[in-house]
């Protein structure tokens, strides 16, 4: 499957398969995920908690350790398969070419060091600056770039002395410091106030444009995804169920789960909420056929027995659903 937006991909994920192994059973948390991210493209990876989206991100960066392991698949970046890359090569890539920011910024800083110290550490490590003086100057510039304008003061503050929104900006500054090609953002706004949320989203969009940076934007919130996405990938129970250009998918959702997600977003004039009935399946024991079948309004016998393969429709959207199978449902 090539990128729906055409063009050479920056990152190509092919059949990524991640599992958790414990004494009693092996659970697949990312089931043969396949997607591309092009240059200057924002791919929104949407899914409920537990759908495997964070695991996908961690697998790309090889930040998983036993009992979690990557059992198969490839992640192509600059002609190299990251899944098979030796650890020290992977480490020099992390942070520098592919960076990641996380959901709760307060948990992601060393509480005993100032923000400035942690920024300087990254700048020196990736050789963006030589020497402490230069690193501190660059740090202040970076903080300004993420709209923390009194960077000089913020540098000397400890994480617990700073608000969540400011901390998230600082984390973004840390991530973009070595000018990465790809930024993975795992629910960067979920822990923030709504007003701050849109500021951070705008910031990310600006950075994407200014720095020609791609973004893998992970979220459970469709309305957030709408604001930033060029491309959309919807995950359910560890599988990618719909993948295509954002404009297409949002205007014309194909998979019943995507449809239900879009329908469940409350709008100001709606009087009734439309939550999706039921619960996602336990990944340790998924249903035999289509994983969404138990909750799907259009499910047929067929769907409950056999897993649907991904199918590419005319508009270059990939859907994993029997309803679109050219061989008939």
């Amino acid at each position: 499957m090539s990128s729906p937006n055409g063009g050479a991909a920056l990152l190509s994920v092919r059949g990524l398969h991640t599992q958790v192994r414990n004494q009693r059973r092996t659970t697949t948390v990312v089931d043969r995920a396949t997607f591309d991210i092009g240059r200057r493209e924002v791919l929104a990876l949407i899914g409920e908690s537990g759908s495997g989206k964070t695991m996908t991100a961690l697998s790309i960066l090889r930040l998983v350790s036993p009992p979690i392991s990557i059992a198969g698949g490839e992640v192509w970046y600059q002609g190299q398969n990251l899944v098979r890359l030796p650890e020290d090569a992977m480490r020099s890539l992390r942070g520098r070419q592919i960076a990641m920011i996380f959901q709760n910024p307060r948990d992601r800083f060393d509480p005993l060091q100032t923000i400035g110290d942690q920024l300087v550490e990254v700048l020196l490590h990736h050789r963006v600056a030589r020497g402490r003086r230069e690193a501190e100057d660059r740090a202040v510039d970076l903080l300004a770039e993420v709209q923390l304008l009194d960077g000089g003061r913020v540098m000397h503050l400890y994480p617990n002395e700073v608000s969540g929104g400011m901390l998230q900006r600082a984390m973004i500054a840390l991530a973009i410091a070595p000018a990465p090609d790809l930024l993975i953002a795992d629910e960067p706004t979920s822990a923030l106030d709504v007003t701050i949320q849109s500021e951070i989203l705008d910031l990310l969009k600006d950075l994407e444009a200014a720095r020609s940076m791609s973004i893998l934007f992970i979220t459970h919130d469709i309305s957030v995804a709408r604001q930033v996405a060029d491309t959309v990938a919807v995950m359910y129970a560890g599988q990618l169920v719909e993948y295509g250009a954002a404009a297409e998918v949002f205007a014309n959702p194909r998979h019943p789960y995507t449809q239900a997600l879009l329908a469940s977003v409350p709008s100001p004039d709606a009087e009734i909420l439309h939550p999706i009935p039921g619960q996602p399946p336990a990944l340790s024991n998924p249903p035999p056929g289509c994983r969404f079948a138990p909750r799907c309004p259009s499910a047929a016998q067929h769907g409950r027995a056999l897993e649907p393969p991904p199918v590419v429709t005319v508009d270059r959207v990939s859907v994993r659903c029997w309803l679109y199978d050219p061989g008939g449902a």
Partner: protein, 304 residues
């Protein structure tokens, strides 16, 4: 990469049942039993320890010789001598027999103070934590006073004052242990009391003492129990040490620690014989340590 424990995210996917809540339920004994079924090291330790205890308790049956019987011609016989598997001590007494008979005293002076400390300290801590206010302050201040002395010196001081004898060593050690158990229990009681089920019990008109107390004890018990279990080993070592200094048992009665002292003059002549009495002390402490770790992992997994 440094191997890291299962991330919080992964636990969602492992299908494992969630962590057991810390408050104790009747399933605790079952949980301990289940733990031992899978932990082979702990089970082996338990078996070996039980064997040692049984042998020592059944001393009249298991001891090959009279521990007090001297053989002037056969002093410091090396191990493997005819009739004396472990050899003899400086007075010609059979070492193995003395170890077996001595074990009764050593184990007693190790375990009894812990039991006494658990009961007395537990009651004090429970009362202090539950009653609060002046009672609590008074009790905890007195406990603090005993904490002013290093454990070893306090025990020595009390044992000296009370005079020689096993009973006095037990008392001295119990006095040293009570403050620690009391503190652990008090802290557990205070945090248990702040939880809502106590309020609920009171509100539902449960008679002041009985129901609340039983509930409270059930939930609070694991802390002092786990603590007491974890110190049995060190207390055995400590008690043998007090006997080593001559404070408890008096010669010629055998006890592991005092035997070590009596024989240390023969260190040059008979190194093995002089070292032997220390082996059961270390072994008992190690076995209790292994068992205690397993029990503690069950009682309070967060400490693992």
């Amino acid at each position: 990469m440094i191997s890291s424990p299962t991330s919080p995210v992964a636990s969602e996917f492992t299908g494992a049942s969630g962590a057991e809540p810390a408050p104790q339920t009747p399933g605790t004994l079952r949980a301990i039993w289940a733990r031992f079924r899978t932990d082979r090291l702990a089970t082996a330790a338990l078996v070996l320890l039980s064997l040692i205890v049984v042998i020592c308790i059944a001393a009249p049956l298991t001891s090959p010789h009279d521990p007090l019987a001297t053989e002037a011609v056969n002093r410091l016989a090396p191990p493997g001598s005819p009739g004396h598997i472990l050899g003899t001590d400086g007075e010609g007494r059979d070492l193995l027999s003395r170890l077996i008979w001595g074990g009764r005293v050593s184990l007693l002076t190790g375990i009894a103070p812990v039991l006494i400390g658990l009961v007395v300290g537990g009651i004090l801590g429970l009362v202090a934590g539950y009653a609060g206010g002046i009672t609590r302050t008074l009790i905890m201040r007195c406990v603090d006073v005993l904490f002013a002395f290093p454990a070893v010196l306090l025990a020595i001081g009390i044992a000296v004052t009370l005079g020689p004898g096993t009973r006095n060593v037990i008392i001295a050690l119990a006095v040293v242990l009570v403050p620690s158990v009391a503190r652990v229990t008090e802290s557990a009681t205070v945090s248990a009391c702040s939880q809502e089920y106590i309020e609920a019990a009171r509100a539902s008109g449960a008679s002041g003492l009985s129901i609340i107390l039983i509930q409270l004890v059930r939930n609070v018990a694991s802390a002092p129990l786990a603590y007491s279990f974890s110190i049995i080993g060190p207390v055995i070592v400590f008690a043998a040490g007090l006997n080593f200094l001559g404070l408890g048992i008096q010669p010629p009665d055998p006890e592991w620690g005092s035997m070590l002292y009596t024989l240390h003059n023969s260190l040059l002549l008979a190194p093995f014989t002089s070292i032997v009495p220390g082996i059961p002390i270390a072994l008992a402490a190690l076995l209790f340590d292994i068992i205690g770790n397993a029990v503690r992992d069950v009682l309070d997994p967060r400490l693992a």
